[in-house]
């Protein structure tokens, strides 16, 4: 097995780490050494800059044919307790509320269940309507799992699905649904949705069509360190082929309210270790996001010293992880994000989805009325 010193030398020389190196990093007993090395890479890539954006999450339906054992969000069919499907007007109302509040969001993140009863036009019209309300908004919508499902259900190729969604307003893909690529794990936790290869193929096609996307890994359930490393290396290989991934987002498993609730979920040290290993293995994926909704604000801030350079955004109305027991708030004010980043000794940079700078330095001003307006509008729409 590689020694930490050997791995450190490879990292400093800019060499790609191997599978064995990744496994050795997971086993390395000294978290501080691991964190310091990941931080070197993070600072080499981004200095102190730490990104966030102003975004809105819309989870238009939680009705889902798939029965992933780690999921607390999905309901198998319409009419089940807590099942919901938004009408277009309801979904668009989320954005209208933001526009009325003069909230300068730049992105809408849309992820849904695999609803067996909705036509393809539900999704295209959802996007088109949002663009009609705010033409400049970036629509980061539908995981690879959803895209693959659309292709199968509506008898279309992945290329055709993406083309139709782009015509309706799709701008990029989120990274969800990757879970862990290893067949052993997928068979146990999500055997009725697309395979790891199919997930990768959707992103390959999207990248080839000029779309950017993110990628994720759900960790802290039944997977081994070797399976995590294998997952990350498959992402790295696709990135070497297409260059289309912007951000890797390790997603901490939340055990409450799902079929895996007997598992303890990842600990704080495991979170930081996973971030550090990811930063070291994924040298060709530029950004590493500490998704505060899942990690919690304290851990997310700490991760900014263990490889992460992005905190996601204001979010607003996230449902998927809150139904799994996430105890974080559903919205974080930009001023609070800025303060969190500055308190970490980093420099906040507001970005758009494609990492173009929206504001930094003195331009990152406080917009005090925002929080009150968000609360009021959330009350109106919920």
């Amino acid at each position: 097995m590689s020694s930490f010193v050997q791995i450190r030398d490879k990292v400093r020389a800019g060499e790609e780490l191997s599978f064995d190196d990744g496994v050795a990093l997971y086993a390395h007993p000294n978290l501080m050494e691991l964190g310091a090395l990941a931080n070197e890479v993070r600072e080499r890539l981004h200095g102190d800059r730490t990104y966030f954006n102003r975004n809105l999450h819309i989870n238009a339906t939680n009705v889902c044919e798939a029965s992933c054992r780690f999921c607390s969000f999905a309901r198998l069919k319409e009419g089940d307790p807590a099942a919901y499907t938004m009408s277009h007007e309801e979904a668009w109302g989320r954005l209208r509320a933001r526009v009325a509040a003069e909230d300068p969001i730049t992105e809408i993140h849309i992820v849904n269940g695999l609803h067996p009863g909705l036509g393809f036009d539900y999704y295209t019209e959802l996007l088109a309507g949002l663009k009609r309300i705010q033409p400049g908004i970036h629509l980061k919508a539908f995981t690879a799992v959803e895209i693959f499902y659309f292709a199968k259900k509506f008898g279309m190729s992945i290329e055709a699905v993406l083309q139709a969604l782009r015509a309706a307003g799709l701008d990029s893909l989120p990274g969800g649904g990757a879970e862990i690529f290893a067949g052993r794990v997928r068979k146990k936790i999500c055997d009725d949705k697309c395979t790891g290869d199919e997930w990768l193929q959707v992103h390959r096609v999207a990248h080839q069509a000029g779309l950017r996307s993110n990628c994720t890994m759900l960790y802290g359930h039944i997977e081994t360190a070797e399976e995590r490393v294998d997952h990350m290396l498959q992402l790295r290989a696709l990135q070497a082929e297409t260059g289309g991934f912007q951000t890797f987002i390790p997603l901490a498993f939340h055990p409450d309210g799902n079929a895996l609730m007997k598992l303890p979920g990842p600990t704080g040290v495991e979170d930081l270790r996973t971030y550090a290993v990811a930063r070291l293995l994924l040298h060709n994926i530029p950004h590493l996001k500490a998704y505060w909704i899942m990690l919690g604000i304290k851990t997310a801030q700490t991760a900014l010293w263990f490889g992460a350079d992005d905190l996601d955004g204001t979010v607003q109305e996230e449902r998927i992880y809150h139904m799994a027991g996430a105890a974080t708030p559903q919205v974080m004010h930009p001023t609070e994000i800025v303060r969190l980043i500055q308190n970490a000794g980093r420099t906040p940079v507001e970005r758009d989805t494609l990492y173009n700078v929206v504001a930094e330095g003195p331009a990152l001003v406080s917009d005090k009325p925002f929080r009150r307006q968000v609360r009021r509008s959330l009350e109106v729409v919920s």
């Binding site: 000294n30 600990t267 704080g268 040290v269 801030q301």
Partner: protein, 246 residues
């Protein structure tokens, strides 16, 4: 396996100079604080099954607890120090210095001192306060950082390390699971903490809804959390001995 606690520190153990600590980066600070903990107590973390004497005179926690503690805010209500000692209290959890707290320490009741900290304070401000704590003339068994408001992660980690380095005469640095949450409570073991402060219960709590922040841990959860931080997990017993949890 039973583990003998190490001897109490001697007066020769000097705190690190505040100005030198405050300039360290996060990783150097963590390494120094963890090394100081290991030097003092060995690379282990502990937990204890404790019960609390409440203001109304009743106990909260298991009858066969290894530790019996009282919050200093309840001291007057239960009839003062002698009443507490007579009831079996062997640890006073104090929010501030007071004559009662000093008297407890001098009477042989161990004192666990809560140390408040706020988001945005400088390391310099904190080390100045710690210097005052380090200079008191009676024994403090342990300190427990107490966030005022919602703590940020990095603030917390730095403050833990500062406590370990600036207070070499104080043997124990406790991680309050209720105040920090289990994730951060585990991380502070990398920054000098050596004991969990949490109710140890028989069955795992379901942390949902209003119960989302329940700090109670089972022995297995406590041991797993400590081991995950890279330390040997031990249970502390009434006589102060530690036993490794297998």
């Amino acid at each position: 396996m039973s583990i003998e606690p190490r001897a109490l520190p001697t007066a020769a153990m000097a705190p690190e100079a505040p100005e030198s600590i405050a300039t360290l980066d996060l990783f150097a600070l963590g390494r120094r604080a963890a090394a100081a903990r290991d030097e003092r107590l060995g690379p282990r973390g502990s937990f204890v099954r404790a019960r609390q004497l409440l203001a109304n005179g009743s106990w909260r926690g298991p009858r066969d607890a290894a530790e019996s503690y009282l919050d200093d805010a309840d001291l007057a209500a239960i009839g003062g120090l002698s009443a507490a000692a007579a009831a079996g209290v062997d640890l006073l959890v104090a929010g501030a210095f007071s004559a009662d707290v000093q008297a407890a320490a001098e009477a042989g009741i161990r004192v666990l001192l809560r140390l408040p900290y706020r988001v945005g304070e400088s390391d310099g401000e904190r080390t100045s306060r710690l210097t005052v704590v380090g200079g008191i003339g009676w024994n403090v068994w342990g300190v427990m950082p107490a966030p005022a408001g919602e703590p940020y992660g990095l603030d917390t980690l730095r403050f833990y390390a500062l406590c370990r380095l600036a207070l070499p005469k104080v043997p124990h640095l406790l991680a309050d699971v209720g105040a920090l949450g289990p994730r951060l409570a585990q991380m502070v073991f990398g920054f000098g903490a050596d004991e969990l402060y949490a109710p140890i219960v028989a069955e795992r709590a379901l942390r949902l809804g209003a119960n989302a922040h329940n700090p109670a841990l089972t022995r297995k959860e406590a041991a797993t959390l400590i081991r995950g931080a890279g330390l040997v997990a031990c249970e502390r017993f009434a006589d102060g001995t530690l036993e490794e949890v297998s």
